[in-house]
Symmetry: D2
Subunit: 372 residues, 4 copies
Amino acid sequence: MGSIFGQLFRISTFGESHGGAVGVVVEGCPPGLEISIDEIQTELDRRKPGQSSIVTARGEPDTAEFVSGLFEGRTIGTPICIVVRNKDARASDYERWKDLYRPSHADYTYDAKYGIRNWSGGGRASARETIGRVAAGAIAKKILGERLGVEVLSWVSRVQDISAIVDGETVTLADIESNIVRCPDQAVAERMIARIKDVKSQGDSIGGTVDCVARGVPAGLGDPVFDKLEADLAKAMLSLPASKAFEIGSGMEGTFLKGSEHNDRFVNRDGRIGTTTNRSGGVQGGISNGETIHLRVGFKPVATILMPQMTVNDKGEEAELLPRGRHDPCVLPRAVPMVEAMVALVLCDHYLRQLAIRPEGAPLTAWPLSPT
Amino acid sequence: MGSIFGQLFRISTFGESHGGAVGVVVEGCPPGLEISIDEIQTELDRRKPGQSSIVTARGEPDTAEFVSGLFEGRTIGTPICIVVRNKDARASDYERWKDLYRPSHADYTYDAKYGIRNWSGGGRASARETIGRVAAGAIAKKILGERLGVEVLSWVSRVQDISAIVDGETVTLADIESNIVRCPDQAVAERMIARIKDVKSQGDSIGGTVDCVARGVPAGLGDPVFDKLEADLAKAMLSLPASKAFEIGSGMEGTFLKGSEHNDRFVNRDGRIGTTTNRSGGVQGGISNGETIHLRVGFKPVATILMPQMTVNDKGEEAELLPRGRHDPCVLPRAVPMVEAMVALVLCDHYLRQLAIRPEGAPLTAWPLSPT
Amino acid sequence: MGSIFGQLFRISTFGESHGGAVGVVVEGCPPGLEISIDEIQTELDRRKPGQSSIVTARGEPDTAEFVSGLFEGRTIGTPICIVVRNKDARASDYERWKDLYRPSHADYTYDAKYGIRNWSGGGRASARETIGRVAAGAIAKKILGERLGVEVLSWVSRVQDISAIVDGETVTLADIESNIVRCPDQAVAERMIARIKDVKSQGDSIGGTVDCVARGVPAGLGDPVFDKLEADLAKAMLSLPASKAFEIGSGMEGTFLKGSEHNDRFVNRDGRIGTTTNRSGGVQGGISNGETIHLRVGFKPVATILMPQMTVNDKGEEAELLPRGRHDPCVLPRAVPMVEAMVALVLCDHYLRQLAIRPEGAPLTAWPLSPT
Amino acid sequence: MGSIFGQLFRISTFGESHGGAVGVVVEGCPPGLEISIDEIQTELDRRKPGQSSIVTARGEPDTAEFVSGLFEGRTIGTPICIVVRNKDARASDYERWKDLYRPSHADYTYDAKYGIRNWSGGGRASARETIGRVAAGAIAKKILGERLGVEVLSWVSRVQDISAIVDGETVTLADIESNIVRCPDQAVAERMIARIKDVKSQGDSIGGTVDCVARGVPAGLGDPVFDKLEADLAKAMLSLPASKAFEIGSGMEGTFLKGSEHNDRFVNRDGRIGTTTNRSGGVQGGISNGETIHLRVGFKPVATILMPQMTVNDKGEEAELLPRGRHDPCVLPRAVPMVEAMVALVLCDHYLRQLAIRPEGAPLTAWPLSPT
């Protein structure tokens, strides 16, 4: 259990960090979609290790292969399997630690759950698992873009205490990709990069936040009660490695306001209903309202640090963990494509669900004035 | 879609605010559990309107009835249906607003989704829906308590900018229930109550945060990858009305630390593996580690305020919303039992899932040293 | 687990034979559907006990009530809860047998599974559970009829060795309802009724078959691989009490033919693709082909007979079961609406699933020549 | 949708007949299970083409590879991905028919559903998809055998009108594998083989039945109502290519009996409760009763025949299908491992589900007298 996500657009990831391969099976993709392996690869390249001086040096090309589900360059409604072979697996590097429980890693909890564990590089708990998500997310993005004109964009909004100011309504992919930390506020980005390099040189790690917007989402996506859009987004974000916090719209800040200050006023915008402010973050009662969906995720400093740490082994005996190897000093730049992928997956799933719900023949467009 | 929650301990709620009744069907409850309607009622009474001077005055006794699933006072493995009849429904009170989209309510989004909507009192989007959750949560709590000795406790930790200091390891239900705002920090509670009364007198509303701990949770609950314990908890919390933010463990604050400051060190605590700090919030890699699970939810100021507001009607025409009726100036005191219920439901579900996974005969106790 | 059926049009039944009530929650019903409680009641009346001299005399009016999900006579996209109160429950009648395992009943297996059991009248294993299915099926039928023009009809095709000859392409509801055994072949119906009365007078029971057709089903419903239409139909049928066999199209008889005799030839029927024969039973590769779906279900003689039988008690001691009370000598006439309901539920679910899959704007009509 | 099967022991198959590969992802496999690729291969070899003179000559070694989910020869609780590369794909062989709808194949219905189709060799509708099922089934069998001592065995019980007499309580795998048709009744097997060869020489095809037993299944597996064991088995069987009929226990034959003849009498068998006859087929009220589970599946003659057939093309124009290539004259010998696999998957899933339901510490053994 646990490796399947989504109801109608459903993905199932597999693979361990230092096993043969990682990958994903995507079920429920609408037929007839033109998609090439290059479009998948572009997203994977944003996630891959070794892409810059501020991420881990593990040398993985992360080359994706379609194993099934396409025919003459188009999806055909059958499961799409994408596989990425592990190339730079060094399982034996981890042998020295195989009896140790690394602090704030999942070694101990996997043992507690399963009574057995792949001790090489985090096994299934490794961020390599997210390759499958990013690959599937590339498909979801394509569907959202083609069918609805939706654009999903994430960026690093804060590194430790260094915050960027970014306008979610106008930011572009080019802005985000213009520097290695993926922060569209260029001046702030330089400070972030310097901070990460500094921390890396100490063998330490830092965290921060990633923001994400989805623009052009039609009103009506999301289900009431348990499968609220923000609930599914929160689950998606907290399923990412190292995430500890989630906010939608006004988030924590909004809880300091009064209702009279917080409520978003409805207006008629050229025949479409919109709101003058967007503290709701594009979602009301669990359902998209046609405004930009805006969320934020807090990521802790990654647990792997290149410093000695005291811990216990699997017999409960005190032991010292002497670090060695490669590490990501800050997960945020590589988390950006993961966040986008998960948001796209949630939206794509709810888009398909809405197709099944809405009255026959009713349009599904952004900000409909008259929904039926 | 959307009204079902859980995989093995699965609940399905039904009912609208001003319809005939609200309720829940609980599937997957282990057989042989002794439970009385009084135990359900006790929790519902913590949630019900009219319980104090700082909540809405709607006069609902919220009396629960078992419709199925029990035999001679015990569960028998079949679906448990619990129904609560609506008594103080005043659908016609809402007729004046039936064409208006109330700001930051779900009126517009329900129309956009379904093309039709029950305009009386929020319909399905009303917090009355949570009655079914709280009733089901009472069962989940009983199972967790009896089988595992787990205790789930929530309290109001902040009202607007008034923050309480509470020790999650020692706080008791009696502490929480000792005042009407459900904040165990008595001095702060008084200030919170005064603030809520003040805001109420202005016809306005305020928000804040609820904290929740689950103590005694055995290591090993939660699934890797998508169904991480924190992911399911985040979804559960963001599915509650008016919630906008979620944090687990060190939360947002933790994202300002370095890895060397943030990591939780493992130690041997009298034969059980534990950690000296708990920034992980009781969860590592999506799986409980035996420490106290600690989370926080941010609730916005409720959208219903007793002040005139500008908005549009369902034809997109500008209109003024003239308020009238009853309202909750602050959702937090009544959110406390909801948060507890949802956390209990998530834990109970993962407890049953773990029963299916662990090796035959393996114990399932808190902090096992040797998991198999 | 076990009480939920369907993916998008999803029902959840609850209730025991001699408990307070039985009922159903229907999730995923499209909004805006006009439906009255009378339409539900009409179907329940075809299922209810005491309707004729050849069914059990239990005096249940089976009066249905909408508890939620409707507003001004229309569905609104929220869960529809329908409750039927048990009126003629006589739990104490069963007290004499509470330690006995009735042959071919579910008493023993429920005990083996749950370690506890409601011994009054079969509890959850009673056919009263099917009330919820028939009520939900009435909604599904309405949707299929209104949206697609689909008609679902069942009839008793064989009682023991008395077989009817019925043309599934032309049979009408009036034909079926014209006699108490629900066999549209009037001459054969009389023989069936006489046989059932004869068996009843002996205190014995008999079985037979029910046939079902769904006419007007568009091509394209059903999913490949595991959720084939015939697979979901088989599951639905074998989930009915007392069913032991399922056939689709040519069924067992077809397994005696050669491929050259069995294959259905495609032809152009006035601009629509059809087949000259229908041994496929309207389904090819798990997907409807636009021809009439035709299936058959075999029901065993019901286990309750008014004759003494040897068995064991829950201590494994030999004991004699002395019968008393009311019984159905033949389940078939009351199974007819159950079969229709389950077939309608499966089709309605796959119809909604297909709405989510097909290209935007593509028609969903019977026998499309050009599917896109 | 449609490519996922099971609730807790869940499989997801992927791949097309003439694509790059076929395979399966298995989720929910208990950790710590020792299993080798040879054990998977053994089952695949029973399914593979070219294994004898009475099956298709397609030259596929069907070599399986573990891609994930094992560590040092044991399962670790993470998804197990198994891939089989297609070697003898000859997509171009099918180009001549790419516009034609082959009679009783899924060409037309896939087009109607998806508006696009992989026309090479049936694509996803090909029996090659069952490779994933058989591979996953090998794991399920191992679990059932090790944990519960359950044995699942299938055999060809009838080819066209040639029926075998086999005792399901005593038949062995060796008996079944002793001839190429997989019928343990040796004399009858020879007649079956002769018949298949004769039909093959005519370019025609034939069908028949496969029987399956599961011995040693503990009482208590299966859920009431919709997920009855026989319902899930029926779905599993009707999801197999070419299946048209399903029977459990006495099946259709039992519908000719009276209740007094059909009921299975309970007795005490050396401290275990059993039945003197087994017309129930090991299942009562949807739950296993500890007796041997016995079911039967009817398979139609396969649709591919080497004879000219009239049909239409995708424009609805009449056309002649001139056959060419390889074909299975009778699906039954290769269906035997598929049936076993699917039965094992259903049982394994319900076994895990029962672990989550039964009281803590309660044994789960065959025929418990005292279930708690």
